[in-house]
């Protein structure tokens, strides 16, 4: 950890791509430069998301490729539709950044301006996506084959073909997870975006105070100790194969999942800006703890029974081949991404930590790995990190700078962005798995 405490956060309205990360930090990294100039050449600009992701250039390459294929290359849906679906999906999570960003693209792709007046002005076919969008965003485990069936074979006119549907599904879940990234990293609106931009958060109020605290010498050494402790735990987890009864495992999974992490103060209802709310129907539908103990609750999804590598990929490959390859590559890259560093230490095997974050997100989305000991999650992820991760994954709109600054105080920003990448991709995979499973069931 370099003298992070000395880096001053701009006190006025922050400039640069992120409200959380100092602009110097983002710009100093080298290897992404080339990628960015590529992005600049193709799109004419480098948006803030790209700049923040540039901290992890190997991932950025994959991400841009996928997004390009999803938005620009041949596909069953017309370009303007793709953007409109993205707008709908980002509105679901109240992300005005993405809504505005893609509204422009929508118009540029020849989209019909009247659609932007709200969801009710869009063609009925798009309106029918509403339910799926809602479920994908908040509770993907509820998606069943009936939802698919409703879209794919109604007697009515506006029917979706499987190929179109799968692209729409990828678009929506891609966007939902991107919203997580945008909120998790505090991405600021593009300079060109003006108008009724709401701040994703009010960055000035808390971040400085948190930082000031971090300067406090005592806290600093505490933080250093925390890192050491964490590394100790990782080593322990890695080498100690504990024996557990099954009950114990299940309990741990349940505990990890249902742990109530949201402080009541966070649950304030903000009034949605109009530019976003007009695309949202049933705005009160949000993430709810997945509770299989309830009566009509759906069963836990076993990763061994429906995994991306075996099942998800095969189905996607059939319906939308290029995208399956790209997503597969992206998942592989993000799972393998490591620099063997942790805060001020290098040559660390971070695989257990990464695995814990990944599985924790799948866990809160109700996906369970038989072969994973969920006790590790509690061992490795401190409470503030869990609060952050769960908020970013499930309620991205409620992320606050406080959350961002309060976990892993000694870690680099790039490492926190790394966490965001894991959250984003794990979330994407979870949503895709549920949707694809429903499609599989529909097809069989």
């Amino acid at each position: 950890m370099k003298e992070e405490g000395d880096v001053d956060i701009p006190q006025t309205l922050p400039s640069g791509p992120s409200a959380f990360i100092p602009v110097e930090e983002i710009l100093e990294e080298g290897p992404a430069q080339e990628m960015m100039s590529e992005a600049l050449l193709s799109d004419g600009r480098v948006d803030h998301v790209t700049m923040a992701m540039g901290l992890h250039s190997s991932y950025l390459a994959c991400f841009l490729r996928t997004q390009h294929a999803l938005l620009q290359l041949d596909g069953p849906l017309p370009l303007s539709w793709r953007y409109f679906i993205i707008i709908l999906a980002s509105a679901r999570h109240q992300c005005s950044y993405l809504v505005q960003h893609h509204t422009a693209a929508f118009l540029f792709a020849g989209g019909d301006e009247t659609w932007l007046r709200g969801l009710h002005c869009a063609p009925p076919k798009i309106q029918r996506l509403q339910t799926l969008n809602k479920l994908l965003a908040h509770r993907p485990w509820i998606i069943t084959q009936e939802h698919i069936q409703e879209l794919v074979c109604p007697g009515a006119e506006a029917r979706w073909s499987l190929a179109e549907l799968i692209q729409a599904v990828v678009l929506m879940s891609h966007t939902h997870s991107l919203v997580s990234f945008v909120s998790g990293c505090g991405i600021l609106p593009e300079p060109a975006q003006s108008g009724d931009q709401v701040q994703p958060c009010s960055p000035t109020e808390s971040c400085c105070s948190v930082r000031d605290e971090a300067k406090n010498q005592q806290e600093w050494s505490e933080a250093v100790n925390e890192v050491q402790l964490l590394m100790e735990k990782m080593r322990m987890v890695q080498h100690l194969g504990e024996e557990f009864t099954q009950e114990e495992m299940v309990t741990r999974f349940e505990r990890a999942r249902t742990e109530s992490l949201l402080e009541p103060a966070d649950v304030q209802h903000s009034v949605l800006p109009d530019c976003v709310s007009r695309f949202v129907v049933d705005a009160d539908f949000t993430y709810q703890d997945f509770s299989p103990r309830g009566e009509q609750a759906p069963p836990t999804m076993r990763a061994q029974d429906y995994s991306w590598e075996d099942h998800g990929f095969s189905l996607m490959n059939r319906l939308y081949g290029e995208m399956a390859q790209l997503l597969d590559e992206k998942f592989q890259v993000v799972c393998a991404l490591t620099y063997h560093t942790m805060a001020m230490h290098s040559d660390v095997d971070t695989s257990t930590l990464r695995k814990a974050i990944w599985n924790y997100i799948h866990c809160i989305y109700g996906i369970r790995y038989d072969d994973y000991n969920y006790g590790d999650v509690n061992q490795l992820l401190e409470r503030s990190l869990k609060v952050y991760v769960k908020t970013v994954a499930c309620h991205p709109e409620k992320t606050t700078p406080k959350m961002y600054f309060s976990f892993w105080r000694q870690f680099r920003h790039s490492e926190k962005v790394h966490v965001n990448l894991l959250v984003m991709e794990a979330r994407l995979q979870a949503a895709l798995l549920y949707a694809l499973r429903a499609i599989t069931r529909y097809m069989t």
Binding site: E243, Q304, D310, F313, S314, R318, D370, D371, Y372, T444
Partner: protein, 779 residues
């Protein structure tokens, strides 16, 4: 337990039973009398009776079974009939001893793997040796007499999906990996693999050693392929490759059949296929009983090729009889025939069939030995089973058409180029096209045009001469040409009546005088010329064919027949570029711009005149028959005629044919034209079409992205001023003002300017107006 029987045989039948839960894997004991089924929620042994499955034992005991019972794989020992091993999804490897006296048969539990164990495999000859492969990337070898693994093999890569001991080499085993690699290990050397090769792109889900052939290994992967590798040589060689339609989950060689193997897929496809690897394009046999993906397949006995057992996610366990399998080859067409674009003909058939005729040619009178030989095909009944299905290699012959032969499409090209679709009055267009068709030796089309002209031209515009049937000046056969002799009298009478109507119409419509006169002149002489019309029999025939309708409707003809200029009246709205803001960053192609201006003006004028008399137009009596004719042509594949007529008739017929059909015809015709690279014609057709979906075709990709000439960055906003360097990028080389409209530039030196200026300049000078010395040319 339910039973179902299809066909009874001496020692078994196709049968199934319901399981309580989806199966993940099955395995059979050595004497083929029992089968074990394992899954997340099931672990049972079934006895294979002659007429059904009988549940023998439930190994899943305890009130709350632990995850150790959640099996990903199961294997029954092939030497020791009481010994089983399972791979649990939580990473445990469990062995079971059926000889244990208590209910819980679990014998040993190894929890050395950290992740799900994907596969367990007993050594084929060594009783106590067990191998496992896990998601954590390790393979472990267990000696069942010890509590721990004896050796660990690290694949140094991702998850292990399958491990298989070689049937013949005591020490060798193969492991397949999620990253597409296959490794060969020596059981005595845990430090390093013997060899490694990349077998598939994406995970290799399964592998299987050939039961007889030492060197053959079959692998199946997510890339939907089954590959057979020859491992006996120094370099691993792919010898066969079968392409399936879904990821391959399991592959098993068929006993006693050297080239056969069975596969099932991971997703979507529920069937089990048995392939002959030498014939990779069509399965030898398929079993289609399962309703969900098949998860485990196993041949019932290691020396019996006729019984296949399978378990599935649909919670059923099946025994398939080979004789009940469906044989896709029976349904497949053994010969293939296909025409190429330019009239070439490709013909594929069994080789013996192809060579036979040629030998006839050579030897002269060699006959087929018997009728049987001429039946292509697969000798299912033949006793020599090893040759079953194998012999079918086909030969492909391609017969090229001679250039310019009748098979070619020259007529199409010529017709497309010579047909006139617009720009002249309707009658002339028809006449011209009729001539074109006749020249190209297509009498039927020629007659069609003539008929159309007759039907839709304004007939007896009140020319007196029409009634007298004598006209000196004209030379075009019209109404009367199909009147034939017996009709002429009646015709005269009718024409008198018609005349009055026509006069009315004429009064109300001065706009069309020119046209009327034109046709007037050409009108009456028809019968006179009829004898000279050189119509051959075909023509006459086809004309007679249409006569009845023509006769019935005739006396109303005149009313509909005012010469409507064939130009389409309500041309679809202006092309898109117009709607763009004037500051559009695109430099639109000149074509697009000119189009959006001219049609607007000229058409609006015409449509006024159209409005004037459309209320007077009577119902179109010919339309049904013309419509029928157009459909007939389209059905025949001559969409050219259909579309050409459609365009020439324009308003007269358009409403009769539904939009989609029209659009379909247009698309087909345009597609054909573009294949023959007749770009101009195709553009003309697009332009003249009245379907919205078609007219927008030539509005696509008319955007040209440009870079600023100063800073070389893309110009994003306006076409003439660069956002970044605030320089006017496109300055006319002649007048040195900014070009805001059409910008024309030389592709050689890239200087240019206002279209008009450059045009004028280059009339006077050969050199570039910018003074760069380039010899520009304006064409």
């Amino acid at each position: 337990m339910e039973k179902m029987t299809k066909v009874s045989t001496i020692n078994g039948r196709t049968m199934f039973c319901h399981l309580d839960a989806p199966a993940n894997a099955i395995s059979v004991c050595r004497d083929a009398t029992q089968v074990v089924v394992a899954g997340r929620n099931i672990f049972k042994i079934y006895g294979l009776e002659e007429d059904g499955f009988v549940e023998r034992l439930n190994l899943r005991v305890g009130r709350k079974p632990s995850l150790n019972f959640s099996c990903a794989d199961v294997m029954w020992h092939q030497m020791e009939e009481n010994l089983l091993a399972t791979a649990a999804t939580n990473g445990a490897v469990v062995t079971w001893n059926l000889a244990r006296p208590c209910r819980n048969k679990q014998e040993q539990l190894f929890t050395e793997h950290k992740r799900t164990v994907n596969k367990v495999c007993f050594h084929p000859t060594e009783v106590h040796m067990l191998l496992s492969g896990s998601q954590d990337g390790f393979m472990k070898c267990f000696d069942l007499r010890k509590k721990e693994s004896v050796s660990t093999f690290s694949g140094q890569s991702e998850s292990v999906r399958d491990v298989q001991f070689s049937m013949k080499d005591y020490f060798t085993f193969a492991a397949s990996f999620e990253n597409g690699n296959v490794q060969l290990w020596d059981i005595r050397r845990p430090d390093r693999y013997e060899r490694m090769f990349t077998a598939h792109t994406g995970p290799v889900f399964c592998c299987d050693w050939h039961p007889e052939d030492r060197g053959w290994l079959a692998t199946g992967g997510r890339d939907k392929m089954v590959k057979v590798w020859d491992m006996s040589t120094n370099r691993v060689k792919e010898i066969y490759c079968v392409q399936t339609i879904a990821s391959v989950a399991r592959v098993k060689w068929r006993p006693e059949r050297r080239y056969h193997l069975a596969t099932c897929s991971m997703m979507v496809d529920h069937n089990i296929y048995v392939w002959d690897v030498r014939r990779p394009f069509i399965p030898f046999a398929t079993f289609e009983e399962h309703k969900d993906v098949t998860t485990g397949i196993v041949w019932r006995h290691q020396h019996d090729p006729y019984y296949l057992l399978s378990g599935s996610k649909d919670s059923t366990l099946y025994q398939h009889m080979f004789k009940d399998a469906s044989r896709p080859v029976d349904r497949a067409n053994p010969e293939g025939l296909c025409f190429g674009l330019f009239g070439d003909l490709a013909f594929a058939a069994k080789e013996s069939l192809m060579t036979a005729p040629s030998s006839v040619g050579e030897v002269g009178r060699k006959t087929y030995p018997g009728g049987d030989r001429r039946y292509p095909i697969f000798f299912f009944k033949k006793p020599d089973v090893t040759e079953q299905f194998a012999q079918v290699s086909s030969a492909l012959s391609v017969f090229e058409s001679e250039a310019g032969s009748a098979v070619g499409m020259d007529w199409f090209i010529k017709t497309a180029q010579s047909y006139l679709l617009s720009g002249k009055p309707f009658g002339e267009l028809c006449e011209h096209n009729a001539q074109v068709a006749k020249r190209l030796n297509r009498p039927q089309e020629s007659t069609t045009w003539t008929m159309l002209r007759i039907m839709f031209s304004e007939p007896a515009n009140p020319s007196m001469s029409a009634n007298h049937n004598l006209n000196k000046s004209g030379n075009l056969p019209l109404v009367n040409s199909f009147g034939m002799k017996e009709m002429s009298a009646a015709l005269n009478e009718r024409n008198k009546e018609n005349r009055q109507d026509n006069i009315h119409n004429l009064d109300s419509n001065h706009n069309n005088n020119d046209d009327n006169e034109e046709t007037e002149g050409s009108e009456g002489q028809a019968e006179y010329l009829f004898g000279d019309a050189e119509l051959d029999d075909d023509d006459l025939y086809s004309m007679e064919h249409e006569n009845p309708a023509a006769e019935e409707t005739e006396y109303l003809l005149p009313q509909e027949a005012f010469p409507i200029r064939h130009e389409i009246m309500d041309h679809p709205s202006a092309p898109e570029p117009l709607q763009e803001k004037p500051e559009s960053p695109h430099v639109s192609g000149s074509e697009a711009e000119s189009m959006c201006l001219t049609p607007m003006e000229s058409f609006s004028l015409i449509s006024v005149s159209q409005l004037l008399f459309s209320p007077h137009l009577p119902p179109k009596f010919f339309c049904p028959i013309v419509k029928e004719m157009l459909c007939y042509y389209a059905e025949q594949g001559d969409v050219q005629t259909a579309v050409s007529v459609l365009i020439v008739l324009g308003e007269r017929i358009r409403k009769e044919i539904d939009e989609l059909t029209q659009e379909h015809w247009y698309m087909s015709y345009i597609d054909l034209l573009q294949r023959f690279e007749l770009w101009n014609v195709s553009n003309e057709v697009i332009k003249l079409s009245t379907c919205g979906a078609i007219t927008c075709l030539n509005q696509a990709s008319t955007t040209l992205h440009i870079n600023c000439s100063n800073c070389k960055r893309p110009m994003s906003n306006k076409g003439w001023i660069c956002d970044r360097c605030h320089q006017c990028a496109s300055v006319c080389a002649v007048c040195h003002h900014v070009v805001k409209g059409l910008f024309v530039w030389c592709q050689g030196c890239s200087h240019g300017g206002h279209l008009e200026h450059v045009k004028d300049w280059l009339k006077q000078s050969d050199h570039c107006p910018a003074g760069c010395g380039h010899l520009c040319e304006y064409t």
